[in-house]
Structure formats: structure tokens, C-alpha cells
Symmetry: C2
Subunit: 423 residues, 2 copies
Amino acid sequence: MVPHLTTALTGPLLALEQHILDSQPRIEQWFRSKWQEYNAPFYASVDLRNAGFKLAPVDTNLFPGGFNNLNKAFLPLCVQAAMSAVEKICPVAQRFLLIPENHTRNIFYLQNVAQLATILRHAGLHVRIGSLLPEITAPTVLDLPDGQTLTLEPIRREGDKLKLDGFEPCAIVLNNDLSAGIPEILQGLKQPIIPPLHAGWATRRKSQHFSAYDQVSTEFSQIAHIDPWLINPYFASCGKINFHERHGEECLAAAVDELLKDIREKYREYGVKNDAFVIVKADAGTYGMGIMTVKDASEVTGLNRKQRNKMSVIKEGQQVSEVIIQEGVYTFESINGAVAEPVVYMMDHFVVGGFYRVHTSRGQDENLNAPGMHFVPLAFETSCTLPDCAAGPDTPPNRFYAYGVVARLALLAAAIELENTAQ
Amino acid sequence: MVPHLTTALTGPLLALEQHILDSQPRIEQWFRSKWQEYNAPFYASVDLRNAGFKLAPVDTNLFPGGFNNLNKAFLPLCVQAAMSAVEKICPVAQRFLLIPENHTRNIFYLQNVAQLATILRHAGLHVRIGSLLPEITAPTVLDLPDGQTLTLEPIRREGDKLKLDGFEPCAIVLNNDLSAGIPEILQGLKQPIIPPLHAGWATRRKSQHFSAYDQVSTEFSQIAHIDPWLINPYFASCGKINFHERHGEECLAAAVDELLKDIREKYREYGVKNDAFVIVKADAGTYGMGIMTVKDASEVTGLNRKQRNKMSVIKEGQQVSEVIIQEGVYTFESINGAVAEPVVYMMDHFVVGGFYRVHTSRGQDENLNAPGMHFVPLAFETSCTLPDCAAGPDTPPNRFYAYGVVARLALLAAAIELENTAQ
């Protein structure tokens, strides 16, 4: 089952997909040359929005949390890509310490951790899971719905190394995005940390990512002979903002206004009849807290207390101070009337699968990765690496291939971003 | 459906598989370090024999011809591995010229060529197929059973480059093992040839391969704490032999005798009640022509004319002059009463699948890859990369993992062999 593209404006996207298909050898050669130049992140997931006339990444997660949602048939693909990743980043390692987010009750997330551990074990590593939670003082066995269990163990620091009881890891794999800052226990370690600490939200900025994406998508567009806007959402950032004290509102309103103008011009160019909109969100952070859909600059100046509170707090209680204003991209994919947003998973520089977030009670212009959002995952039914030039541009293998290409552009942007921000 | 292991002597193999499972992280780390040292061949297939008490490679093909026999579900795995291989060997290439064997009527082989082209196309390459056959003077469309077609085109040499009409390839992929020698048209080319010409039987020798395998399996056995004999067939080679003129028969008989003694000693050590046997075959060449099963040295001295003729001619009419004498390994796998021999496929250093050659009219001590042998391929039902430590050593995922490990040892031996024989 594949979501249906519910737009009359499929023309340009079909044209985009057709361009991507036609340029496949040139695109893959270009990616090969880029991966000789940049190191792919260990893993990543990219949220895409498919507006029919436009297919673009809106978020790139360097600590992906939905491996459990992938088609189980793709497990060998994940294992092979994990082998590649380990080979490049940490070939001598035999024992990995996996440090997840501080959840003990989010069953969906715990299944992700279990799946990730399974992938790494199949790739030939000893994997144990260490928790940063202070209440984990002894090995704690958590039950999973499929009958498996997950054991969280307390982490011990000895000098500049992390250990578990009877387990000396060669490397540390983070599945924790460090939204709450870099905990002291992870600082100054001798063991390699994968991905590196500066991939966490304690230092990462979406605006830096999308700057790199600008560069990548512009170069790619020349290769594929397309208008870069078709794969690149406009964005702006706006320095320090304090929603509580209403500092920076004017700068925000001006940026929103300018962005909306640019988008409307593009909408006119492509004959798009929908309202232009932007998304205002924290420049650092994840989990979709503090996200606002804005269709007019006036909406960001007259925020009431409730709205200001909502925008002020993101994951783990961090205050929003820097925001990114990003062109909103409509989701015109739907399945049984519910909005569906594709998420593509990668390990090393390989696309290993993906799924749709399917959400019945959200609109086409809303973020589907928001708090309290209980989406239903729908695994991609085929691989993203089997484009079929003989078939139409919108048949599933070809749509998935286009997803995989755009997701890899975001991955490349992340690689450049991480290189730029490394000390 | 997985072949049944029909031996009372499963003990040592289960122990071998258990050792391999237990040592998985050490084994994978060891492979990673080896692949940093040696370049994996572009692709390869390895014929294994599973005697229950012993699991060993008996032939390593660097121009594999059965991609059509792999489980179709593994196609994404092949594509991903092909991407890795291209990335390492020829990252700038966009256009591949694929040169197959000189068959136009072997439907099974043509399906392999079509599947290989499909894999490379999915990996993002323009692929066209050039034939070395003089009778292919214009593009020739061949029909395949699945409704697809395969177009063979005449190759043109211009200076030090090969071309097809309107197609200038960046690199040449050989699926032709050069048993008939290196054709002039392939000599001194500027385009990279993958695998290199010296991987062909014009220069390759099985004895060099198995010398390298000796080295690899000895080192591996220390890692996995096993007796190397459990994965390594004894072998000897015997200089120039002319079966027609009966030159070299005595040397051959002496080598056979010594090898049989060594094997019988091992059989005693492991309590194997079967007769020891050796295989005498051409040191260069493939297709199983000129292969003899020998249980006593006297069998090679008293050859009648018919037997001598059979041993004298291999593929493309080459005269056998050097032979290898290899310990025979029983095939104790069977399915519905038919003997089954596993063949493992690899691209780059990844195991991408495999199949069983199932043959009803052959014995457990005969070569299943012999002329006139119409085996039924039975694709491996699961991947070779999903070992399950919680399950028994002989459950399919674990047996396939063991196959994959032993096949990769042979692949590593081929990498060393190619490095040793490169000019």
C-alpha cells in the first residue's frame, strides 16, 4: 500500500521525478564523488514533504529513532550498510556501548533501540545498552511487545573511559540527540563517540544544516537540470529571540514577511493556488515542540501568553532563543484520507528504508512530527534503490528512488555541516 | 525450503558453526581489518561443499554466472554492494560496457547477464552489452523467458579504447573468464577492466588461489579457535602433465597417494567412516570439464583412452597441462533425496545471496558443476548476514551465516591471489 498523491498539480513533481530518473547515472556518479570528499554520518533519518509540485527535506535527524518502523525485509540492507559504516568510522571495534534517549516508558522508542542493537549485532558487534538516567543503578530489563526484552545498564566512568559491569566498549554509539546539553559523563572521553558530540542539538543548528543544503541542492540542480527550489525550502534565521519578553518579534515578522513574498512568487511561477506558509521553529532541538505554522507576518507579533509559552519550551525544558523560519511545504500525500509524510532512513551513505508517518487529525500544512502526535508508521513497501526507468515516474519504485535521492542530498548537507562545525 | 543435512556426523560441523557464531564479533573485526589491507574483487561466487564434519570452498569464480539464481528479494542488497564496488574501483564511471561469455543460446547464462546489467543499472550506471563473438556484427536482440530482451552489440576498438555505436564506456566489466586466452581486442586498453585481465583463466591458477586460502584459513582458524582442516581442503599441484602422452602420471599418482594418506589420517581423527577421495582437475579453467574423482592412486595411472581424452580438454578446447589435486569434500546436504551444493555470491566484500545447485543424478562425492549438468537452482531463502545467536547453530540463518563466512575467506584468498599475480 502506497499513499496516493492527492494534488491536481502533479505535473512539476512528475517532471522532477522524471528528471531525476533520466539523470540517474549522472546523479549517482555525483554522489560517489561527493562521498569521496565528505564522510557520511553514521546514520540519519530525513523527514520529507511531498507537495506534488515540490519534494523537499524539512528536518534531518542525526540520531534516528524509528528503525523499528522499517520494513523487516530491509534488515539485511541495514546490516550491510552498518558494516560499511563501522568499517569506515571504527574498524577495530568489537564492542559498542549504545546510549539511547532517557525514555523508559516510550515503547515505540524502546523498540527502535532494540532494533538498532539487533542491526549492530548482526553486523558483528557486541552491543550493550547504557543509560544516562540516574535511576538506572542496576541492570533493568524492560519488556517489549514482541516478547523481546531490552536491558538498560548503568554507565560507569573510569578515568576517560565509559564502562558497564564486565564490559569495556571500544566505541560509544549515541542514539541520544543531546537536547539537554552534553552530559559531563560524555565529555573528554577517550573512546570514539559515534556520531560525534557536535552532531547533538547542544551545538547543532538547523540553519547551519540548511545553509549546507542550499549549497548541495544548488549544485545538484545543475546536475539534474532542475530549479533548485523544487527540492529546497527557503529559510531564514533570526538571531536571539525571547518569546516571553517579546524580544526579536519584529525581526521575526520581517523575515516571515520576506519569505512569504518569495514563496508566493514561486507559487505564481508554478501556478500553485494554495496559500504560502512558513514554519517557525527552534533552530536547535527536535521533537517538534515550539513549532508554528504562519501564513501572515502579523501572526508572529500578536502572540498570546499560551502561544508564547508553547514557543518558548522545547524538549527537556530548553528555552528557545534562536529560531529558524522555513518555507512550509505542503504534504499532498495521503492514505485513506490521512496525511502521510515520508521519512527516509540511511546508514553510512546508503538508503536502508523508510516509512510514512500517517496522521488522520493533522492538516496538509502542519508538522507531523509534533508533541502528542501518535502517527501510524507505514513502512515503505519496496527499496529506494530500485528505480525502474521503463515504468512511469510516479510508480512506487521510482517515487521511492526520488525520496532516496532527496534524502541523500540532506545527508550530504549534514556531512558538510558536521565538517564545518567540527573543532 | 532448506536442504537437510543427511549425516550422522553433524557433531563437528555443529561445533564448527557454533565456534563461528560465538566468534562473530572477532571474525567480523578481523574481516574489517583484512579489507583495509586487501582490495576485494569486484564480484565472485564460491562453491562450497558441506560434509557435515567439514565446510570448505572448492572453487572460487571471479566471473560469476548465476546472478539470475539468487533470491529476488536480495536485489537491493546486490545493488547496494554494487554501489560500494563501483565506488571503490571506478568512482568516476557513468557508462559500463559489459562483456559476457560467448554464449548466445544458453538461456540460463543470458538471464545471468540480464540480471547483472539490471543490478548495475539500479546502481546508477548506463550499461550496454558488447559481444566478442565475430558473428555479432549488428545489435542482436535475444529473447529471455521472462519476456525481457537482451541486446548484444558489436564491439569496436578505436586506438586504445573500446566503443559501441554511440557509446563510449568509462570502464569495462568482464563476465567472461578468458578461458580461451586474452583476446587481442582487450589487450593494452586505456579503459579500466573490471575484474582485471589477470583474474581470467588465461593467467589464473587454482593452486595459487588455494595457496592464498591456506594462509587465510590458517589465520582465521586461530581467530575462531578451530582446526583449519575443518574449512580447508588439502591440495597439491603437479607441474606439467600430458594425459595423451602419459607424461607426469607418476608425479600425479604420488601426489594423489600422499593426499589420500593425509585425508585418511584426518578422517580417523574425526571418526569419519567414509572413503577418502581426491578431485583431479585442471589448474586453470572452469566449467568442470576434465574433473576426476579418485579414491586410489592406481586410478590415475591406468587411464584408458576415453578417460584421457576427457581429462585433456577443458572449456574452449584448451589442453590441460597443469592439474591440481584437491581433497574431495563430501556433500552431505540433500533436498528430496537430491544432492545440494551451496554457491555463495559476493559483490565487493559483501555476501549478497546464494543458491543451492540441486542435482538428482549425482553422488555425494562428485562435482556438481560439471558438463551436461543441469542442476536446479534453489535460492537461499534468507540472507547470509542475519546470524541468530539465540537459535541453534544449524538453523537456516546460522548455517547461511557460516556459508557466508567461509565464502568470504575464499574471497579474501582471491584478493590476495590477485594482488600476488598483478604485474
